[in-house]
């Protein structure tokens, strides 16, 4: 009979890592396309041109998604083959993903010719309320509490590191320099604001979501809750 721990640690996390890796790998070209931040009805030729310029300035390579994607697939296979503990694989996988996000951020920050600016101050609370910061900080370091649990030491350190890195990236993205050439100020400002808002919120979600999945693996009782939430979502009217 299949043990619940084996099912959770090996199969659930193994398949999760493979799925996550495939999602990153297959979706890499889509993730790199900045047009996904705007609905088709919002798009105009001017906006598309501004998005094209922005994409050139950011110069984030497809490898930023592709490499951690492949790495996560390999980790998932190692977990499924029982060569690596599920939680350890998860920790290493999210660490690789956070590292890739960090490198993409540095590349974006140091690239491009910037010539235009909005006369609006950017602060840590421009996009998200202040309470998000302590919430994300607590969530980021909480995995360390599981550091002395046998089999969870490496995973807790890796998950904490990944969460702290994404939390720092979220805070830094809030105040990062604006990437605008000034060719079409209105469209570029719209792109700048939309991208900054989506990325900051996305990074906060990742920084809090990564430890949450880790806690879920530890407290197996959360898994049925997951399934329940999934069922609610599946039956939601379109």
């Amino acid at each position: 009979m299949l043990n619940w721990d084996v099912l959770l640690d090996r199969w659930c996390l193994g398949l999760f890592l493979v799925g996550f890796g495939l999602w990153l790998t297959i979706g890499s070209s889509q993730f790199a396309d900045l047009r996904r931040y705007f609905r088709a009805s919002e798009r105009t030729p001017e906006l598309d041109a501004a998005l094209g310029r922005r994409q050139t300035m950011e110069a984030i390579p497809l490898a930023a998604w592709f490499v951690p994607g492949i790495f996560n697939v390999l980790l998932g296979i190692a977990v499924l083959a029982d060569r690596l503990a599920g939680v350890a694989g998860y920790g290493i996988g999210v660490c690789a993903f956070a590292l890739s996000l960090g490198l993409a951020y540095l590349r974006m920050r140091n690239n491009g010719v910037r010539r235009a600016a909005a006369l609006q101050p950017r602060t840590l609370t421009s996009i998200v309320p202040m309470w998000w910061y302590p919430a994300a900080a607590v969530m980021s370091v909480a995995p360390l509490a599981y550091g002395d649990v046998p089999g969870y030491t490496l995973a807790s350190i890796c998950v904490c590191a990944a969460s702290v890195v994404t939390f720092a990236l979220a805070a830094l993205s809030n105040t990062m320099v604006a990437l605008m050439t000034g060719e079409n100020p209105e469209a570029e400002l719209r792109v700048e604001q939309r991208l900054r808002c989506a990325r900051v919120k996305g990074l906060f979600a990742v920084s809090m979501g990564v430890p949450f999945v880790f806690f879920a693996t530890f407290c197996a009782s959360i898994v049925p809750l997951y399934m329940g939430l999934g069922a609610i979502r599946l039956h939601k009217a379109p």
Binding site: R114, A117, A118, V177, G182
Partner: protein
């Protein structure tokens, strides 16, 4: 929104000065509006922080901005109205210099007028 064009002769700090002042005169920046920090604006424009600091200092000296220490820089509650005349005078002078330079290069009055009309969309 302001932009710095490195191809024109006007120094970057002067370009920032003029554009911030124009934004206040247009009403895009109302009295009391907070401005970005020197560091933020310098980073966005790709210029040295000293360039923005100089523009801000000049704008403060001219009465357009007020510094509130750690709370940052804001648009002054009473902006110098008399400067509007100086601004229109400066525009007239710049246009005259521009037209003269084109005439010296052999363009006729009608050619210049036609091209300007096309550029300005009138």
């Amino acid at each position: 929104m302001i932009a710095v064009d490195p191809r024109i002769e006007t120094p970057p700090y002067q370009q920032i000065f003029e554009q911030v002042r124009a934004a206040i005169e247009r009403g895009s920046l109302t009295p009391g509006t907070p401005l970005p920090t020197v560091r933020q604006l310098a980073g966005d424009l790709g210029v040295a922080p000293n360039t923005v600091a100089r523009a801000y200092a000049d704008l403060q000296d001219a009465g357009w901005l007020v510094s509130e220490g750690r709370r940052g820089t804001r648009v002054a509650s009473k902006t110098p109205a008399a400067d509007r005349r100086a601004r229109s005078h400066a525009l007239a002078e710049a246009c005259a210099r521009f037209a003269d330079s084109l005439r010296h290069r052999g363009y006729s009055r009608s050619e210049i007028a036609a091209e300007l009309s096309r550029l300005l969309g009138s």
